[in-house]
C-alpha cells in the first residue's frame, strides 16, 4: 500500500459537520485499506482513488450500510496527462456537510479504446442508471453489467465510435447521420394499448417523448425518452473562457439561472480559495430566494391550470408577474440574469427600491400569497383532484435520488441549503418542510410552505444588508473580490435551485476549464415520473408532470 497523502486546506469548515464523513472514511480505510490507492482532501471534499475492481463494492458498502447517497457520477478524460480515463462517484452522507468522491482510473494506454470497461453499480444503486449510460455515450466507457445498456443521450442516428466528451473529439466536427433503431420496452396483453406522446407537444414547451401503456384509462407503464435537445454544454464549457462560462451556466436551465450560476461560481471560488464579501453572500441569497419565489408561485399556478381551476391560476399568475417585475426592478432582468459573477455579484441591490420599501412590498405579496393558498386549499374540487394523485413513495424517491421539493414531498428530509450551507444560508433562520404522502397535494403543500419561508428569508437577508450598510466594521460596500489568476484544481459547487440540488464539478487546468460536469435536479427527478404515473389515469398525467416541475433544458445538457 502506498503512503497515504492527506492534505487538508485551510478552508474554514466546521469539523462537527463533517465528523460523520471522516468516520466513514476511517471505516472505509479499515475495511478496504489495500484497495485504496491514494487519498486527498480539500475543504469538505474527500477524494479517494481506489482500485478499479473494488469501486462497486465500496460504493455498495457506503450506500447500503452508511446512508451515503450518490449525488452525481461522471467521467473525465485524463489521457493527455496520466494516460487514463477516470470515473468519479460523488457521495454525500445524510446529515453531513461533506462529500466523498470515489475515483477509479481506467488505463487507456495501448488498449483498444472501444473496449474500455468499468463495473456497473446500477444493479445495486439504481440512481446510477442514467449516469452510467451517459458515460457510455459520451466517453465510450462501457458499464459492464448494466441492466439497460441502451443509449441514453445519443440517438440511434449517431455513428458508433464517436464519443463527444473525449478530448480527441473536435467540437466543430459533424459526424454523419446513420440508420439505427431504438427499442422501447414492450408491454403486451389483452386490451393493452400504447399511447405515444411527443416529442412535439401542444403548447410552447420543449421536446420529450412519453410512451404510455394503458389498459383503459389507468396507466400501467410509462417510458420516457429525452435528450432531444442535447446541446453538448459540457463540451462547450471546455472550449470557452472562464468568465464567459458563467453566462453559459446561467442559461442551462432558463428559470433556474441564479442557482446554476451560483453553483458554478462557488466551484471556482473553492478552487481559488477565495471568500466572497458578506454583502455579496447576502445578495446571492436574496436572488436565490427570489428565484424560488417566482418558480414556486408559477408551479402552483400551473397546478391550478391543470386541474381546471382558472380563477386560482389567474390569481397565482398575477402574483408571479408581480414577483418577476420586482426581479426586473432589482436586477434589470426578469429572470435575474447577469448578476452573479466569480468572486461576488456584478450589481448591488441598492438600485431604485430602498430596503424598507422593498420589505413593505414583499409583505404585501406574502399577504396576497397566503390569501391565494387559503383560496386554493379551500376549494374541494381542487383538493379532490390533487390528493393521492401521482404518488411517489419514499423508497422509490430514495432509490432514484429524487431531489428538491419532490423529495421533500415524499418524506425525504433533504435540503442543500441546510445540509450543505452556502452563500448566507448558515446565518438565516429557516425551516425545511417535509410531507409524507408524496402526491400532488404534498408537492403543492411543500411549495406553498417554502414560498412563505422564502419571504421570511428574504426579509432577514434584507435586514442584515441594511445593518451591514450602516455598520462601521465594514466601511466599503464591496460586492466583489477581484479574481486574477485561477490556479489548477477541481471542486464541487452546489445550490438548492427551486427544483432541487444543483451540482457542478469543475476542473481547471492552465486557466482553462478542463472538465465541467453539470447535474441539474431534473436529471434526478425525471426517472421518478415513470413511477409517479403508475395506476393513475391518463388525464392526470399533465397534472402530475406539472407538479414535478421538470426541466427539459436542464436535463438535456
Amino acid at each position: 500500500m502506498e503512503k497515504l497523502n492527506i492534505t487538508y486546506t485551510k478552508n474554514a469548515i466546521d469539523m462537527a459537520d463533517i465528523a460523520d464523513t471522516t468516520d466513514l472514511i476511517t471505516i472505509l480505510r479499515k475495511n478496504f485499506g489495500p484497495q485504496i490507492i491514494s487519498e486527498t482532501a480539500s475543504g469538505n471534499e474527500f477524494y479517494l482513488t481506489v482500485k478499479k475492481d473494488a469501486a462497486a463494492k465500496i460504493c455498495d458498502c457506503m450506500y447500503h450500510h452508511h446512508d451515503a447517497q450518490l449525488v452525481t457520477m461522471f467521467a473525465t478524460d485524463n489521457r493527455k496527462t496520466d494516460g487514463v480515463f477516470t470515473v468519479k462517484y460523488v457521495f454525500s452522507r445524510d446529515g453531513s456537510d461533506a462529500f466523498i468522491i470515489l475515483q477509479i482510473e481506467i488505463d487507456a494506454k495501448g488498449l483498444d479504446l472501444e473496449r474500455l470497461q468499468f463495473k456497473s453499480i446500477s444493479p445495486k444503486i439504481p440512481a446510477a442508471n442514467w449516469y452510467e449510460r451517459e458515460i457510455q455515450d459520451m466517453f465510450g466507457l462501457v458499464a459492464q453489467g448494466h441492466p439497460d445498456p441502451r443509449r441514453l443521450v445519443m440517438f440511434e442516428d449517431w455513428p458508433e465510435g464517436q464519443y463527444p466528451l473525449r478530448k480527441d473529439f473536435d467540437i466543430s466536427s459533424k459526424p454523419p447521420r446513420v440508420k439505427g433503431t431504438y427499442e422501447y420496452k414492450k408491454v403486451e396483453g389483452e386490451g393493452i394499448y400504447e399511447i405515444a406522446v411527443g416529442p412535439v407537444h401542444a403548447g410552447v414547451i420543449e421536446p420529450g417523448h412519453f410512451r404510455f401503456s394503458v389498459a383503459g384509462e389507468p396507466i400501467i407503464n410509462l417510458e420516457i425518452r429525452h435528450f432531444y435537445t442535447h446541446k453538448g454544454v459540457e463540451k462547450l464549457f471546455e472550449n470557452i473562457s472562464i468568465d464567459k462560462a458563467v453566462f453559459l451556466a446561467e442559461r442551462i436551465s432558463g428559470d433556474n439561472s441564479v442557482a446554476h450560476a451560483v453553483a458554478f461560481c462557488q466551484a471556482l471560488e473553492k478552487i481559488i480559495s477565495v471568500e466572497i464579501p458578506a454583502r455579496a453572500k447576502y445578495i446571492r441569497t436574496i436572488l436565490l430566494e427570489l428565484e424560488r419565489l417566482y418558480n414556486h408561485v408559477g408551479d402552483i399556478a400551473g397546478i391550478a391550470t391543470d386541474v381546471g381551476f382558472p380563477a386560482g391560476a389567474a390569481h397565482a399568475n398575477k402574483l408571479k408577474e408581480y414577483l418577476m417585475q420586482l426581479n426586473e426592478e432589482l436586477t434589470g432582468s426578469r429572470l435575474l440574469r447577469g448578476m452573479v459573477t466569480i468572486g461576488g455579484v456584478r450589481r448591488d441591490l441598492g438600485g431604485a427600491p430602498k430596503i424598507p420599501d422593498l420589505l413593505a412590498r414583499l409583505t404585501s405579496f406574502e399577504h396576497d400569497f397566503r390569501h391565494l393558498v387559503d383560496f386554493l386549499f379551500d376549494t374541494p374540487s381542487l383538493v379532490d383532484r390533487i390528493e393521492t394523485t401521482g404518488r411517489i413513495y419514499t423508497d422509490i424517491a430514495k432509490a432514484l435520488h429524487v431531489v428538491g421539493p419532490i423529495a421533500r414531498a415524499s418524506g425525504i428530509d433533504k435540503d442543500t441549503r441546510r445540509d450543505h450551507p452556502y452563500a448566507a444560508y448558515s446565518e438565516l433562520n429557516f425551516k425545511v418542510f417535509v410531507q409524507k404522502s408524496g402526491d400532488v397535494y404534498a408537492r403543492t403543500m411543500v411549495r406553498s410552505d417554502e414560498v412563505k419561508e422564502s419571504f421570511s428569508m428574504i426579509g432577514q437577508a434584507l435586514q442584515t444588508l441594511q445593518s451591514l450598510q450602516s455598520s462601521q466594521s465594514l466601511p466599503d460596500a464591496s460586492i466583489k473580490v477581484d479574481v486574477a489568476n485561477i490556479p489548477d484544481g477541481c471542486a464541487l459547487g452546489y445550490t438548492e435551485s427551486p427544483r432541487g440540488e444543483t451540482v457542478y464539478w469543475v476542473m481547471i487546468k492552465d486557466g482553462q476549464i478542463e472538465r465541467c460536469k453539470v447535474r441539474d435536479p431534473s436529471y434526478c427527478n425525471w426517472p421518478a415520473i415513470e413511477y409517479a404515473v403508475l395506476d393513475n389515469i391518463v388525464p392526470d398525467f399533465p397534472l402530475i408532470n406539472k407538479s414535478m416541475s421538470l426541466s427539459y433544458s436542464g436535463n438535456d445538457i
Binding site: 440574469r337 456584478r346 450589481r347 431604485a352
Partner: protein
C-alpha cells in the same frame, strides 16, 4: 362560489393598457445595447468580450482599392443582454438601454451598424 366571485371582484383588472399606453422598463433594465458612434474607437474590446458573438468587426472595402472602412455590427438576434460589452468598453460607447420592443419580421432589422472611414 361566493368566495370566488369576491376574490375576482376584489382583484379587479390588473392588466395594463399596453401597447396603447407605453410600458417603460425600470432604470437599470438590461435591454437593447446601443453603440454611440461618436465615442466608439473601433478597438474591438466588445467584440472579444461578447460570448454569443453578437458583435462583430468587419473591414469594408471602398469603391477604389483596399480596405478603407471599419464596420461594427451589433446583432440583437444573438444578444443575451449580459452587459459585458458595456463593462469592458473603456470609452462608455456601448450601453444597454431600456428599449425592449425588439420583435422584427426580418433578421436584418435586428442588426445595427456603425461605420468609420479609415
Amino acid at each position: 362560489m361566493f368566495r370566488l366571485l369576491k376574490n375576482t371582484i376584489k382583484s379587479g383588472v390588473v392588466t395594463t393598457k399596453y401597447p396603447k399606453k407605453p410600458d417603460i422598463a425600470p432604470v437599470g433594465f438590461r435591454g437593447k445595447p446601443e453603440i454611440d458612434s461618436n465615442l466608439c474607437t473601433f478597438c474591438g474590446d466588445c467584440v472579444n468580450a461578447c460570448l454569443p458573438g453578437a458583435i462583430y468587426l468587419n473591414e469594408g472595402e471602398g469603391s477604389k482599392s483596399g480596405i478603407n472602412e471599419r464596420i461594427i455590427t451589433l446583432d440583437c438576434g444573438g444578444c443575451i443582454f449580459c452587459g459585458l460589452c458595456e463593462v469592458v468598453c473603456k470609452y462608455g460607447a456601448i450601453k444597454l438601454t431600456q428599449e425592449y420592443e425588439l420583435a422584427s419580421k426580418t433578421k436584418e432589422n435586428l442588426t445595427t451598424e456603425i461605420r468609420r472611414k479609415l
